[in-house]
Amino acid sequence: MVAHRASVAESVGGHLDGIHDLGGKQGFGHVELDASSKEGRHIHGFNQRWHAAVFTIINSLFVNGAAANTDHFRHSVERIDPINYLSDGYYGRWLGGAETMLVEAGLLTQDEVNSRVLNRGYELHETVAARPSAAPDLFSAEERNFQPTAQRLVAIEPRFGLGDKVTARSLGGAGHTRLPNYVRDVPGQVVALHGAWVFPDANAHGKGEDPKHLYTVRYQGADLWGPNAESSVVLNIDLFEPYLSEASLG
């Protein structure tokens, strides 16, 4: 259906716990290798011109102001319909995110997009990934000045040090986060400090850069996956300080 889907109110979900949070999920089958893995490093670059077009359109969002920052863009991809998220592939997901941002920023209307795709032979039964929100305008024009998501200097000392035992907990609500479900509520250990970085949970939603200290936290496979986990596996993941608290005993 080309017609624009029902808008999704904020309460229906940003996507703190969306389909994109795939770590540890089961049922997706074996990895399907492509020629680039079978034949070595010599195959690279774009397979399809439209992939490069989508790539370029994404870059343009940061210039024309549709995307305020990388976190804002990532959140637009997380908001596409779960079935499309799983079916459309990487560039298809980016396309859905781009369309959402362009419509939400008022640079295109959904009607314009719909007429144009129909003119070009889009099939009516195909679902559409993009779901611009009814009340999306979190960012003012001034705020839509792209700054790379990156390290920032802050005066505040990091709360945790190397070797500290920590547990990550969801901040709750609905929105963008970089804390995947599979490490939540499981005890881990700080193995690296990376200084302070733009905080995606704030930056994606027009709440400023709000830089927070970033840590690499190490988890033991058996703590994450139970007694039947593969042996001698550790998992390292970069987590922002607001996700973390001292690990509870036991």
Binding site: H30, N119, Y182, W197, V233, N236
Partner: protein, 194 residues
């Protein structure tokens, strides 16, 4: 959405943006040229080859990857912080991004399709040894597997073990043998040079 429909939709969006002056078609050609010719795994392979031949560079690369690569002015996307993790007889490293598909573009080029697919993203954090067998890579049980989930802006690259017999090759020869998959950590380079 089928591949055909996605292509139609992308081209429709492109044409609308060009008409409104929000996109220059020439930039698409630039992007194609950039990633097809200048940005790709040969950049990472050059770093690996150099590290194998230059102990000081290797030490730099492992201690502060970001500083070590600054001299090369790689194009193709920001790498705010690069962390290079070394494979050894005791430890094998493998990289993923479970939440999206974060990847060190400037070093390795565009990520392969499987890196972005749900099968790899979901499973490699849970069963890395089993997933590596999908790539024909079988790790000894006593070798520790370290998975790196790129959840923030730090980007990870694996420094593979140099196979026996490659010690006499030049850096230029090595660059043609070091595979992208070995720098993601899903492949162990063959001990025998082809």
């Amino acid at each position: 959405m089928s591949e055909k429909s996605a292509a139609i939709r992308a081209e429709a969006l492109e044409s609308l943006l060009v008409e409104k002056g929000l996109l220059d078609t020439a930039r698409i050609d630039d992007v194609l040229t950039l990633y097809n010719e200048r940005v790709g795994p040969m950049n990472g392979a050059m770093l690996v080859a150099k590290a194998w031949r230059d102990a000081h560079f290797k030490q730099q690369l492992l201690a502060d990857g970001t500083a070590a690569i600054a001299q090369f002015s790689f194009e193709g996307g920001q790498v705010d912080k690069l962390v290079v993790v070394e494979n050894t007889a005791e430890v094998h490293n493998v990289v993923v991004c479970t939440l999206c598909s974060c990847y060190p573009w400037a070093i390795l080029g565009l990520p392969p399709k499987w890196y972005k697919d749900p099968a790899y993203r979901s499973r490699v954090v849970r069963e890395p040894r089993a997933v590596l067998t999908d790539f024909g890579t079988h790790l000894p049980a006593e070798q520790e597997v370290r998975v790196w989930d790129s959840s923030a802006e730090v980007r990870y690259m694996v420094l593979p073990v140099q196979p026996k017999g490659w010690e006499t090759l030049s850096e230029g020869e090595l660059v043609n043998k070091i595979t992208r998959d070995s720098m993601i950590g899903v492949e162990v380079l063959a001990e025998v040079a082809e």
